[in-house]
């Protein structure tokens, strides 16, 4: 096991057709850390995750996983893409889909070994998916499918789990469940988590670090270091206020400023 950070994003820039999507973005993720990648829709969070997966050409900079440069398929990375809907027509039980996470890139057939079946059972238990392990994946609810996708990503024992907006389109109860599940699983399996979201409040209790992205640039650190008026104002290029209230954070633009880029806020609820 190397001492290098699980993930090093080192002055990474990405552009599409002359337009800069990411501009000199740098941050590290340490072993076992829970990192939130926070920013509005369209600021380049998905592009950044794709770059880490080796699916996006970099204009400049370097990305290293456990100290090594990226390769095409890195078994140290587990991935849960955005908006995966497991179709009703897929003739697979939840456990079959999780098992596919072991070796989907291989050619030909092979029989599952007892060790592999045990591994699948174990991971299904860990994500509380035993109850519906033998149901067809397409018949599961959004929250249940999310658990199965997380199990699929975890079964290959990655050291970093990348999740692209896993909380979007879930009801508030499922959001809470998935967040605490990820936190628990990350601790139990010593997996670092890099999770993108456009809303940070649900993640505040579990985030070790935050990477706040806007206008193609990013600031990273602990939540207290980054979610501050001066840091975020510098990032946005205009003044924003940060309000901390009842363990929740609100980022508010000055009147007259275009606040369309600011992550949407939750409706305030009394907990």
């Amino acid at each position: 096991m190397s001492d290098a950070p699980v993930l090093e994003v080192d002055h990474v820039s990405v552009s599409f057709g002359g337009r800069t999507i990411l501009d000199e973005v740098s941050f590290d993720v340490q072993r076992g850390e829970f990192t939130g990648l926070i920013g509005s829709n369209g600021v380049g969070k998905t592009t950044l995750l794709r770059a880490i997966l080796g699916l996006q050409r970099l204009a400049s900079g370097e990305i290293r996983v456990e100290g090594e440069a990226l390769s095409r398929h890195n078994h140290r990375l587990g991935y849960v893409p955005q908006k995966v809907v497991l179709d009703v027509d897929i003739p697979m039980r939840a456990r079959d889909f999780v098992a596919l996470g072991l070796d989907a890139q291989r050619f030909g057939f092979s029989r599952r070994t007892t060790a592999q079946r045990d591994r699948v059972d174990e991971i299904l238990r860990d994500v509380d998916a035993e109850r519906f392990a033998d149901s067809r994946v397409g018949s599961l609810s959004g929250g249940e499918q999310q658990r199965v996708l997380i199990a699929h990503a975890l079964v290959g024992e990655p050291s970093l789990l990348l999740l692209d907006e896993p909380l979007a389109n879930l009801d508030p109860k499922s959001v809470q469940e998935i967040v605490s599940l990820l936190h628990r699983v990350a601790n139990d399996h010593d997996v670092a988590v890099l999770l993108s979201a456009h809303e940070m409040n649900a993640l505040l209790p579990v985030m070790d670090r935050i990477v706040y992205v806007t206008n193609g640039r990013a600031a990273s650190g602990t939540t207290d270091e980054v979610v501050q008026s001066d840091v975020l104002s510098a990032l946005y290029g205009h003044h924003v206020d940060v309000l901390k209230l009842h363990g929740r954070v609100l980022v508010i633009a000055e009147p007259g400023q275009d606040d369309a880029e600011i992550p949407q806020h939750p409706t305030l609820t009394v907990n």
Binding site: S71, D89, R93, D103, Q145, N169
Partner: protein, 301 residues
């Protein structure tokens, strides 16, 4: 149906050829069909059948076996659809539509030329709706070789194909070349359409491709059973269809039989309808099956 197993039924060469080619093409179609339904490429399958019509009618004009035309045009069409189509689903639909339109136009031309050349309308019937009793036994080796190659390729790319059918994003993240897998699958699809075109005609080949697969997907919970059930349903529909068509020569006093393709497609359709009955469906649905509203809710974002 007391004429059914009259002496000579199984020793008749056209019947044996029909049974053999019917079974092989039904199995390949059903297995490819399961993936086609999972990938949401039924429309591409239908477009390839139009392209196969062009090939079959063109082959007839140039005195080649229709099978050669079905397969050749299908493979070219599949390549063209993948080449024109970008990865995006919408783009693929448009590319498919454009290839389809042009292919159908060419088929119209060839069928016209064929009819003029042979001074009979039988050729249109044969290409579009099949004539499994008139197949030349010499086509069997080509059918078997193409089937073995196709099923072999599917067996090799099985897992990457499965994952990229479920989610191209997940597959790409594992270093699977989604485009190469997609192209190989389209070629397999072209062969399946070509084979079912000689069995039930190019116009009806989609039925043999999609019908047994869609029925099997309703009845099973895992992929292996879906593939086995789809293959079995395809073969059963084809064989029973052949028997009924053969028997139908004695149904009417005019001694005129009904077409095999009609029986095969009708049986497939009947099977699909039966599989949708609530009593059948309840047994295969999951214990925790939630209302399917979640898909709407997830797409909405």
């Amino acid at each position: 149906m007391h004429y059914l197993f009259e002496p000579g039924f199984f020793s008749s060469s056209p019947v044996r050829v029909a049974f053999a080619i019917g079974a092989v093409s039904a199995i390949v179609s059903a297995i490819v069909g399961v993936f086609t339904v999972m990938r949401g490429q039924s429309f591409a399958g239908h477009a390839l059948s139009d392209v196969a019509t062009t090939g079959g009618s063109g082959a007839f004009f140039f005195n080649l076996s229709p099978l050669v035309g079905f397969l050749g045009a299908g493979v070219l069409g599949a390549g063209a659809m993948e080449a024109v189509g970008v990865q995006r689903l919408r783009g693929r639909d448009v590319a498919t539509g454009i290839v389809l339109g042009f292919a159908t136009g060419l088929a119209a031309l060839f069928l016209y030329l064929d009819t003029t050349k042979s001074a009979t309308t039988g050729v249109s019937q044969q290409i579009l709706f099949g004539s499994i009793f008139t197949l030349d036994p010499s086509t069997i080796p080509l059918v078997v070789v193409m089937s073995v190659i196709t099923l072999g390729v599917l067996a090799v790319i099985f897992r990457p194909l499965l994952l990229s059918s479920i989610s191209p994003d997940l597959a790409a993240a594992r270093g699977i070349s989604v485009r190469v897998i997609g192209l190989l699958f389209m070629l397999a699809l072209a062969v399946a359409v070509g084979l079912s075109s000689i069995a039930v005609g190019s116009l009806l080949s989609t039925a043999l491709l999609i019908g047994p697969a869609a029925t099997a997907l309703r009845l099973t919970r895992n992929l292996r059973s879906a593939l086995i059930v789809a293959g079995a349903l395809g073969v059963a529909a084809t064989w029973v269809g052949i028997i009924l068509a053969y028997d139908s020569f004695y149904w009417f006093t005019s001694s005129q039989g009904l077409p095999v393709s009609f029986f095969i497609v009708a049986l497939i359709f009947l099977g699909y309808l039966l599989s949708g009955l609530p009593a059948v469906r309840r047994r295969t649905s999951s214990p925790t099956a939630a209302a399917p509203t979640h898909s709407l809710e997830r797409v909405a974002g």
